[in-house]
Symmetry: C2
Subunit: 664 residues, 2 copies
């Protein structure tokens, strides 16, 4: 913490904050769209945070031990762009600011991870920045336990608005953070009493402070425009043994000449007249995106505040025996030999051919991977035994040491998925988490955001079809495979047996810039991979599992637990004189990335094509064409034992054989 006077001898903190206000107002005005109200309201808080507390060095946005600043209220993106520009982040040029919300700029409407250095996470879908921050804070605690305070010792600061706090996921996030006493996490709540439709009181009367206290947080309320109060509250936050909420009472659009405090400043440009009047009121005589020299100097100095500390940290890292491992883990590279054990196991499995549920196969994969890849940190949303996510003897992640690698996420699927995104974004860990596949609907917003950001979070989704049985249609995925496959940049795996499950786990780990979803069965299924392969066949997305006896007349495509059924149908057809191929399709996305020639060879046009999957047809036409057969579901499931359901819904060997014959 640096004293204010040394930061700027000429520009006052008020002027520094006004620089944010004007930049935000001007950026939105130029774009003719955006949200000026929030950055203007939170400018004072942000100024104190950045100039006195946030550990960062603008010249090194990737400094591993920086504090993380997360703008959960992502619509106020000009706040972070202004801060990055003012403090001298190289990428945050004046040009970028004046190109706010335009094609090809780094200053997207909402902060996008990977566009502008300094943006730690993509935000905008409300509540998720806050929920993701829990993952950042967990990663910090875990890595501090592993590598020591010398290498890992930083905080996570979140700016959240009323919208973030109204979203249900915020409850999952704050109760997780409270349970794990993540005392290096601070939420700065922009308590401006305004939402898009008007006053917060229109739709909410929650005592937010009481609610956070009930979740195990330390809470303080301040005037968010009182620099002294802000400073003292931030200092207080750094000394608590719980996560901290600072309720900052602010005026939205603070400083706007006539609109201060109005919801009209929330989501639209203020307009030329208001902008001019506001300039006048703030005594700001500079052109758009131009800064007074003293203000510019003061902010640039803030941007250099952390340089000394950063250099000292680099020296400590250089001297550390853990340097190589730490650097590798933070880069997201796997340890050397990470797959040695699992590859040996795969070689063994083609011999032993175990019949087991693919959720067990996934558990078996974890057994081989967990020790080999110390970055793996897993958990389940209260379905540990069902999800097979726990590796025997793993210590539990918990206060005070946090060295455990298994997280009891509780019944918080969405919160878990967002936390996983945060863990992955922080780096140094590779998160996986389990729930029933049907509850991917609950976590979907975070799965999508992970796909958009391109983070390696591995979603273990068990009980992947009507094979779940008696729990019934509320718990039986039917449309979920299609719905997940619809998300761009998400790898959806549905392995057929233990060999494929292990291959899919490897692929999920190898893809550093995409999340994965593993669809896994509750019910036992036969081994189908009984011949040693020289490569990871699942990596092709789809492959000929069994060739036809002679020139193929039919091709049967299947995934997961339906592959044995496809093989049985092929047996029957072959016996009846119809040469039939069987294609296993563990991953649509990877298949459609293969060369056209390979795709054509697998798809087998000219043969009768039938697919079988205990799910809806949507998407399968790319394999079977318009006239192909599909054996699967076209409605919700029902409550009954699994084998009865397969029979009643007509997902049987007979049905597959008939579908082929009808087309021969």
């Amino acid at each position: 913490m640096t004293d204010a006077k040394t930061v700027s001898e000429k520009a006052s903190p008020k002027q520094m904050a006004d620089a944010i206000r004007v930049l935000a107002m001007d950026g939105v005005e130029k774009a003719k769209s955006g949200h000026p109200g929030m950055p203007m309201g939170m400018a004072d808080v942000a100024t104190v945070l950045f100039s006195k507390f946030l550990k960062f060095d603008a010249s090194r946005p990737d400094w591993a031990d920086r504090d993380r600043f997360i703008l959960s209220a992502g619509h106020g993106s000009m706040l972070i762009y202004a801060l990055l520009h003012l403090t001298g982040y190289k990428a945050a040029t004046k040009q970028e600011l004046s190109n706010f919300r335009q094609w090809g700029s780094k200053t997207a409407g909402h902060p996008e991870y990977g566009h502008m250095p300094g943006v730690e996470v993509t935000t905008g879908p409300l509540g998720q920045g806050l929920a993701t921050s829990v993952g950042f804070a967990m990663a910090e605690r875990h890595l501090a336990a592993k590598y020591g305070k010398d290498l890992v010792d930083h905080r996570t600061w979140v700016v959240a608005g009323d919208g973030c706090l109204m979203e249900g996921v915020s409850q999952e996030a704050i109760t997780l953070a409270g349970r794990y006493q993540l005392n290096k996490l601070t939420v700065l709540w922009d308590d401006n009493e305004i939402t898009i439709d008007g006053k917060v009181s229109l739709s909410d009367a929650t005592d937010q402070k009481g609610r956070f206290k009930a979740a195990g947080w330390a809470v303080k309320a301040i005037d968010g425009h009182d620099m002294k109060a802000i400073k003292s509250a931030l200092a207080w936050a750094t000394k608590q043994d719980k996560p901290t909420l600072i309720a900052c009472k602010t005026k939205i659009g603070k400083g706007a000449a006539t609109m201060e405090g109005s919801h009209k400043t929330h989501g639209a440009a203020l307009g030329a007249a208001e902008v001019a009047a506001t300039r006048l009121g703030l005594a700001w005589q500079h052109e758009p995106f131009e800064l007074p020299e003293a203000v510019d100097k003061a902010w640039k100095k803030v941007g250099r505040r952390g340089a000394t500390e950063r250099k000292a940290w680099e020296a400590r890292l250089a001297a550390s025996s853990q340097a190589a491992d730490f650097t590798r883990a933070m880069k997201g590279d796997l340890p050397e030999g990470a797959f040695a054990k699992i590859d040996a196991k795969i070689a063994e499995l083609v011999e032993t051919k175990p019949a087991q549920a693919t959720r067990q196969s996934s558990g078996a994969a974890l057994d081989e991977l967990f020790a080999a890849i110390p970055e793996l940190i897993g958990g389940s949303a209260d379905l540990t035994g069902s999800n097979n996510t726990f590796v025997k003897d793993t210590p539990i992640f918990d206060a005070p040491t946090y060295e455990g690698r298994y997280i009891n996420y509780g019944i918080r699927e969405f919160g878990m998925a967002a936390t996983m995104n945060g863990l992955a974004l922080h780096g140094g860990v590779i998160p996986y988490g389990g729930t029933f596949m049907v509850f991917a609907d609950y976590s979907r917003p975070a799965i999508r955001l992970g796909a958009l950001m391109g983070v390696r979070a591995i979603h273990v989704l068990t009980h992947d079809s009507i094979g779940l049985g008696e729990d019934g249609p509320t718990h039986q995925p039917v449309e979920h495979l299609a719905a997940l496959r619809a998300i761009p940049n998400l790898l959806v795996f549905r392995p057929a047996d233990t060999v494929e499950a292990m291959e899919c786990w490897k692929l999920a780990l190898e893809h550093k810039t995409a999340p994965s979803a593993l669809a896994l069965s509750r019910q036992k299924t036969a081994a189908v991979r009984t011949v040693a392969a020289t490569e990871n066949l699942s990596g092709k997305g789809a492959y000929e599992l069994r060739a036809a006896n002679g020139a193929a007349k039919a091709t049967i495509f299947a995934t997961g637990t339906e592959v044995p059924l496809a093989l049985a149908a092929a047996d029957r057809l072959e016996a009846e004189g119809t040469p039939t191929r069987v294609v296993s399709v563990p991953c649509f996305e990877l298949f459609f990335q293969q060369p056209k020639k390979y795709q054509d060879s697998v798809i087998g046009r000219g043969t009768v094509r039938v697919a079988v999957e205990a799910a809806i047809q949507q998407g399968w036409e790319r394999f079977i064409g318009e006239d192909g057969g599909f054996v699967g579901m076209s409605s919700f499931g029902a409550s009954a034992p699994a084998e009865v359901l397969y029979e009643k819904f007509g997902i049987t060997t007979d049905a597959v054989v008939d579908a082929v014959k009808a087309r021969l």
Copy 2:
């Protein structure tokens, strides 16, 4: 409220509760799957509730003014099945109980709405029963305002577990209920400190009572096995001016010989030995599903408790001038002439041809419908102006009168959708609610549950593509049309202009047993329906909007804002000598319900087929075949003005023309 002694002179309340315990244990044992722990733990609370407070008449499960009992912790389904059986619901036979979780039984693994009378809502996906109950309680308040206390005066009772309370949606639900002071809503929290993975404390340390207080609830904590305390707490709940939480400290699996209090009773049969020992401990000498006569009699008397009150209510209804209207509304029938105004407007629109955003078209439809259908009750998740969900001069739904028909749902998309399910299930109202289409991911679990239950909830989803523009990829739906179309029994409409929007609104209202999603544009689009039609063309799902000039060589399919683009492409192709049809596809689901002959006539095999939609291709193969062209998205969007995005992502007239030409 009836005195205990008059209910049963022989069976004690304890024995009555034990009947629930034994039935639950036996049902699960027979099925070899299920959740005995919760029903056994909450048997005492349920006994007091049913025998002294719940207003119901087992012989009339459809009595409109009954109290609603909602088992949010749906895994404990044997609790409700046992209660319905014990109190004499005709459908809840011994046979059904012993067929628990079997094909064709009414006793599904989780309570399914529409299977067993007395089950008010499908529960199981945690938190949603609680969230849905808010809709029930809102409907009651609104209808009481409309029809008076004589016809509408009942309570909503919810049994919720730790899982329900950990789910984020519970926060949205309780803050909504708190804001609207729904004092006839009571949550009975099964505070048993156990989740599937073990103790609640493994993953949660929330002060639930403090949290509910912060949400504006009145809170009481009791011993959930102390009948006297239960009775006094339930009486207290009926006298509060806020929604009420009763924290019932219970032992999971209460009464089980050795497993009482253990998470092992949560989700599996107890096993023959434990069942026998438990029988012994409870001095229960009857065979499975057999009841002691005194217990049976006492419970049957409970089932008749409300008969007098029900008859009195029926007399009041018969005497009421509102009888016909109330009965019609509760049946879900639309008022006579409901569509007169909108039909006249449609006739006008083919002449006036307004160019406007389809969200405005939807607003225009509401303008015509809202007065004609007084059951319509709408709202928005804090995007009223953007969603065009507000009809001018509509009073706001709020305490103390609740007569308003516009609900400020706040930033609670999931909570809103679940509330809408509750409103629809209660009956007497037809709910709609708006948010951005991308946030259908947030509300998806409730949209799905609505589809599974078959309730008429209308989801108004605006900003339906990259046409949303500058807000960027976090806010731009790309995969959402496919993902929503994947949900069985959900009607997904994407109207092209105001005429189609009005047609789609009519269809949404006419389909009483399916929810609808309306995908609506932010950006302006030209009118495409410029010729009067004799029927609701959107009702066919897809139809030839423009015939080819001569024998068609090409067919272009489009939806929503891409229909004008398809028409422009057809113009170009026709000019170049290629006869081209244009097919508008407002609703996949309705199209695939049409006769095969109609489908074939629309699809136009033998012509070159190209589809254009600013979304991913998945699902379009059913129109364009394997070799057809698709102009749309294959990645997430970006932040820039809408027209720039259409150009950059190649969704243009040129692209459609090229796609056709490449295939001619």
